[in-house]
Amino acid sequence: MSLEVMLNAAGLAFVVAGSRWHQADGQVVFLFILAMAASEVAVGLALVLQIYRRFKTLDVDALSAMRG
């Protein structure tokens, strides 16, 4: 969720810059950020679900062992 806030801040900066110089590029870049955030959230939440299914917890400290 904090990642969402950071991506949103970056997008806001792009849109403000695009509005200042009256260019559409800022909004275009914001659309790309939107697409990236959407796919990243989908993959991240799927990873969270998988972690919960395997370890029955969401504590990151529990994931301290690797198989290899």
């Binding site: 200042r20 909004q27 659309l31 990236m36 679900l49």
Partner: protein, 196 residues
Amino acid sequence: MELTFYIAGAVAVLATVGMLTRLNLVHALLYLVVSLLGVAVVFFVLGAPFVAALEAIVYAGAIMVLFLFVVMMLNVGRLAAETEKQWLTPGIWTGPLILASILMIEVVYLARGGSAGLGAGELGPKEVGIALFGPYMIGVELASMLLLGGLVGAYHLGSRKAEKPEIQHDADTHERWADTSGDLVLAGTDRSARTP
């Protein structure tokens, strides 16, 4: 017009701070939705109505619902009803409600007064579309591939069947296919064991 910009920005900042200081995930999500709506109003005031609409629809609508869905899904259990009842006590949603009603008043005011860009005028969806499918065409293609990759990855990670062993079909199935009358033959299985 400038005043609405500052109010919406203040609402967004306050909601983000509220989100960062919550300990409960659902309370933080409430504040995050309000924050995203505030940023959408800021976009609208800045003269980017297309991006404002996308922010409200995609971020505050789709992505937040995805978050909420996962949070609710991880809470399936005997205590879920009680915890959900606990989440929605009146003291919790008054903060987001106040901020959201400020945004609502602003949106009504903007809708009555018409939209004028604060910066260097308004940039509608037409200009954005022309720029998007003109010089940024390859970016659109890359974004589509990224979304496809995200879709496939999320499906693969989210499916329960990932833990089962894979079913492999035999490499040289020509004869065996014929005498199992068209059924696919699993690798490692004997034909005589399958047919009675």
